[in-house]
Amino acid sequence: MYQAGTLSGNPLAMSAGIAALELIRGEEVWEKLEQAAGRLEAGIGEAAKRAGIPIQQTRVGTMFTTFFSETQPRDWESVKAADKARFGRFFQKMLENGVYLAPSQFEAGFLSIMHDEAVIDATIAAAERAFAEL
């Protein structure tokens, strides 16, 4: 495979990359990220349940998506079945409640090491209000 790029190895990008990698080095960082992501997933799941909104959640580590669907998304057919209009309304309600999700049902969300418990809990509270208004 031929791989090339004008900005490959760019010193600014390399320096930023090294600084970022230093910050996420170590098991404890990843354990905290996993805990935060798990807390968010569980909180959103419970909030949807309380509101009687059927959702499906997918997550790998810090990468997650909330699908407005009755069936677990496994392939293109089942992913396509998600209610995009309802996701759009959810997206708007989350924005109004101070949470910026990816503006598409078919994009994923991500967490950072700055998403602490208070941030996660504020997000869950926003989801609670958003689900209630859907």
Partner: protein
């Protein structure tokens, strides 16, 4: 929520760029509503031009795993900008150092 600045900037942008954006998802076509103009990011938060604060789960589609404008990352970029030219042969140091990180098995 006051988003008047975002509204007027989007009107202007639509006269300047196709769809008013430089990447399609930013036009909010898939979700409807008014695209927001983000002024700055700090930690887990984004701030739009009207001063509204949002918890960000886009994070530049993943790579901002240290959050927005982490002081260590900002300092590294500033130092590199001060002392490196893009043609410096010293950049190989950095590539190799970063490559070593890749070789570590990440969970």
């Amino acid at each position: 929520m006051n988003i008047t600045q975002s509204i007027s900037l989007f009107q202007e942008a639509q006269a300047l760029f196709p769809g008013g954006v430089n990447s399609p998802v930013r036009a909010f076509r898939a979700v409807g509503g008014q695209p927001l103009f983000i002024q700055r990011g700090e930690g887990a938060y984004l701030f739009d031009v009207d001063g509204n604060r949002y918890i960000d789960y886009v994070l530049s589609w993943g790579p901002l795993i240290t959050g927005h404008a982490h002081p260590n990352v900002v300092a590294a970029i500033q130092q590199a900008a001060l002392r490196k030219s893009c043609n410096s042969s010293r950049r190989w140091d950095r590539c190799i150092r970063r490559g070593r990180f890749r070789a570590i098995r990440w969970r």
